[in-house]
Structure formats: structure tokens, C-alpha cells
């Protein structure tokens, strides 16, 4: 898997060339200075070799001008590298709006992936070309890292919190997926592929693999079976517990008087440690669900609560293809049909 430039891996995302460009700049500066120093060294070593055993060269005073010169020039060059790197980094780690959301759960030693349309995969990720894709990731055990060299993108997958990374593939193909944070015995086996498809093929793939519940639907079932309904209401309208419909992404007033944005981290914390951030006006009556719901199920509950946000007619988010949104089959989850 190589690009036409030697020693550069295939470029397959909108971010690749930006990283490569900076890499070329850095390489150029490195080669220039290494050659400069080496050539001067070799020249001096030959030119000023010791000719007679007892000779003593004249001592030379240092020079403030020279010192200033070779302090300021490297500093200026370093700052261009910093600014350039920071700019692209900010882009890499700022999740875009309107991206396809895909949930990733890492565990020793596999990647479990849930599309918001219900498809589940293990160690494979199918995505369409030319669409922004955002991964929301967490781990069941140790720290992992979702690394796709062709996209020049990686992010740690940390237990206990959600992290995210995003990319927009530019070229159909099959690319390496590596775990890049050492995670124990079979770390080097925690690999897989990212399969980038043309949009039409991707739609085919989606419909060919339809039949699974969407995470939101699975979350809804959990919501019922875990008894959340009794306090939060069947549709999240609230009751003894706070309202969930439309909660996601909103500022929420807490009993301490502070406000907090109801994001993934907040919802996750409120399920496994409900007393931590109580909504104003509600007592500490909710039991903890720590240990009772897996990371997969947490992701499903999260997806369900997010879906409650959409009260008005659903916007046509392409992630949810018509085949899966209109009817929400409530049969039990079959064995994962992805490899």
C-alpha cells in the first residue's frame, strides 16, 4: 500500500495531504540542517586535521552576533513548524457538524463497531467515500488507539470516557486499521481494515447488512428493560426523573446551581454515577448502573437519548437510511453478522 511518492503511505483522507505537506516541510528542514552540519564537520575535520603533533591553534573568542544568529533563525523556523502543526491539529481534533456518527468500543483485542443504522462490525469499518465520518469511541478495559495510517489519523480510546476522531475518505479502497496504544498480549492482533466504498456501493452494503437494530432502538429496549421508563417516562418526557427528550446538547441546570452541557460524557456519567451531577429540582433517587450495563449498552442508551432530541420531523440524515428508520424491529439482537 504505497502512494506514488516513495516512502509515503497511501493518502486516502482530506487530512492526509495536509499532514504530508507539513511532513515534507519538516523533512526538508531536517535534511538541510543535517547536511549542513555534516558537510561543515567533514570539511573542518579534513581541512583542520592535526598536521604536527605539538601544534596549538590560536584560540578564538566567541561571538554574540553568531550566537544570536543561530538562536533566532532556529527559533523562527521552529515557530513556523509550531503554527502550521497546531493549525492542522486543531482541524484534526475539531469534530465536524453533520458527520455520520459511528460508535466504536475497543476491548482486548478487538474493535466492536456499531453504525447508527444498526450494522455491527468487528475489526472492520465500512464507510462511504466523500462523507465526513465521526467515531465516538470508548474502551471496555485498557487504553487502545484507533489508528488509520492512510487517513493520518489516530486517537486514544480511553476507558471511562468518550473520545472521538473524524475523517473524510477521498479514495475507495481497503486500508489498515491498527491499535496503536500497547494493550497487552494480543496487541499486534488488534488490527483490521477500513473499507472505503463509493456511496452507491455503501448503500448496497448497508441494505445487505440491514436487519440489526439500530443502536437507538436497542437503547430504547434497554431503557424499558432497565426500568428507566418508570421515572423518565416512556418517551423521555420525564416524571420523577428529569426530562430526557431534547436533552442532548443542551445546557442543563444542576442542583448545585452550575450548568453543564449535556454531552456524551455527562450522559454517561449520569447513568453510572447518577448522584454526581443532579439536575436542579430532583432528588438523589436514581440507582447507579455501574457494572449492570456494558460499554456497548451504554452507547445504545446514549444513542437512544440522542434520538429523543428529534421531536420535529426527522431531518434526512443520510446515516439513517429509510430501510431502518421507518420500522424499528424490536426483535432480539441476532449474532453479529459482521465478521
Amino acid at each position: 500500500m504505497q502512494s506514488w511518492i516513495p516512502f509515503i503511505p497511501e493518502s486516502a483522507s482530506t487530512m492526509s495531504w495536509k499532514v504530508d505537506a507539513l511532513y515534507f516541510y519538516l523533512s526538508g528542514v531536517t535534511v538541510f540542517f543535517t547536511l549542513l552540519i555534516s558537510i561543515i564537520l567533514v570539511f573542518f575535520v579534513i581541512r583542520y586535521r592535526r598536521r604536527t603533533p605539538y601544534e596549538i591553534p590560536r584560540p578564538i573568542a566567541g561571538s554574540h552576533k553568531l550566537e544570536t544568529l543561530w538562536t533566532v533563525i532556529p527559533f523562527v523556523i521552529a515557530m513556523t513548524m509550531f503554527a502550521w502543526g497546531a493549525r492542522v491539529y486543531f482541524e484534526q481534533y475539531s469534530p465536524p457538524e453533520n458527520a455520520i456518527e459511528i460508535y466504536v468500543v475497543g476491548k482486548q483485542w478487538m474493535w466492536k463497531i456499531q453504525h447508527s443504522t444498526g450494522q455491527r462490525e468487528i475489526n472492520e469499518l465500512h464507510i462511504p467515500v466523500g462523507r465526513k465520518v465521526k467515531l465516538i469511541m470508548t474502551s471496555e478495559d485498557v487504553i487502545h488507539d484507533f489508528f488509520v495510517p492512510a487517513f493520518r489519523m489516530k486517537a486514544d480510546v480511553v476507558p471511562g470516557i468518550y473520545t472521538s476522531e473524524w475523517f473524510e475518505a477521498t479514495k475507495p479502497g481497503t486500508y489498515h486499521l491498527f491499535c496503536a496504544e500497547y494493550c497487552g498480549m494480543n496487541h499486534s492482533g488488534m488490527i483490521g481494515s477500513v473499507i472505503v466504498m463509493e456511496p452507491r456501493e455503501f448503500d448496497n452494503w448497508l441494505s445487505g447488512n440491514a436487519g440489526n437494530q439500530t443502536p437507538a432502538v436497542a437503547g430504547q429496549q434497554l431503557y424499558q428493560s432497565l426500568g428507566c421508563v418508570s421515572c423518565h417516562g416512556a418517551n423521555g418526557e420525564g416524571g420523577r426523573g428529569p426530562t430526557l427528550a431534547g436533552l442532548f446538547g443542551r445546557q442543563t441546570l444542576l442542583s448545585t446551581g452550575q450548568t453543564v452541557r449535556a454531552d456524551e460524557a455527562y450522559i454517561r456519567e449520569s447513568i453510572i454515577n447518577p448522584q454526581a451531577k443532579l439536575v436542579a429540582g430532583f432528588g438523589p433517587i436514581m440507582p447507579t448502573f455501574q457494572g449492570q450495563v456494558s460499554e456497548d449498552q451504554l452507547v445504545q442508551l446514549l444513542a437512544f437519548i440522542k434520538s429523543l432530541q428529534i421531536v420535529s420531523p426527522q431531518p434526512a440524515t443520510p446515516g439513517q437510511s429509510p430501510a431502518t428508520t421507518t420500522t424499528a424491529p424490536t426483535r432480539a439482537t441476532p449474532a453479529p453478522n459482521a465478521k
Binding site: Y93, S94, P95, I136, Y162, T163, S164, F248, G249, R261, D263, E264, A265
Partner: protein, 98 residues
């Protein structure tokens, strides 16, 4: 490093000040101040007490520059540890993953 002998009176005064500081911080702890002032007050009193111990009991006030540099360096490095670690934790929410 010429040696300086601190008079007993000074030690006694510092000792009394430290006891008063302790009493004050306990009393202040039960009082409900607005915002985070309970923490601020407790830490200010503790820092004041520590400063007295360092300056008088540990003779830093009468010591040479090197000792001052060492004390300040120690605080500075603690500062680095705290400031840069919390530069991470305090700015995490600035970009939400959602």
C-alpha cells in the same frame, strides 16, 4: 555562610502565631463563605504558617541567596507540575466531542 543565632523571643512569637493561625483556620472552616472562599482562606492561612516556619524555624530569612534560590525553585517546580497538568484538565471542555 556566617551563622546567625535567632533569639528565643522570635521563636516564641512564631510559635504563638502558628497556634493562632491554626485556631483561626479551624474557626473559619465552619463559617460558610460565598463562592470558593473557604478554600482560599484555608490555603492562605496554611501558606502563611508554612512561610513563618520556613523563614524563622528553618532560618531562611537569615540564609544566603543559594538557600532562597532552592526554596523558590522547589515552589516553582511544584507550580510547573500543577499549572501544566491543569492546563489540560481545565481546557478539556472547550471542545466537545459531540
Amino acid at each position: 555562610m556566617s551563622e546567625h543565632i535567632v533569639p528565643v523571643k522570635v521563636y516564641l512569637a512564631i510559635f504563638v502565631a502558628l497556634l493562632l493561625g491554626t485556631a483561626l483556620t479551624v474557626v473559619a472552616a465552619f463559617h460558610d463563605f460565598p463562592w470558593q472562599f473557604n478554600t482560599v482562606i484555608a490555603l492562605t492561612i496554611a501558606s502563611f504558617k508554612a512561610t513563618l516556619v520556613v523563614l524563622y524555624f528553618m532560618h531562611v530569612r537569615y540564609s544566603n541567596r543559594l538557600v532562597w534560590v532552592i526554596v523558590i525553585a522547589a515552589l516553582f517546580w511544584m507550580g510547573i507540575l500543577f499549572a501544566l497538568t491543569f492546563s489540560d484538565y481545565f481546557t478539556r471542555d472547550w471542545i466537545s466531542i459531540g
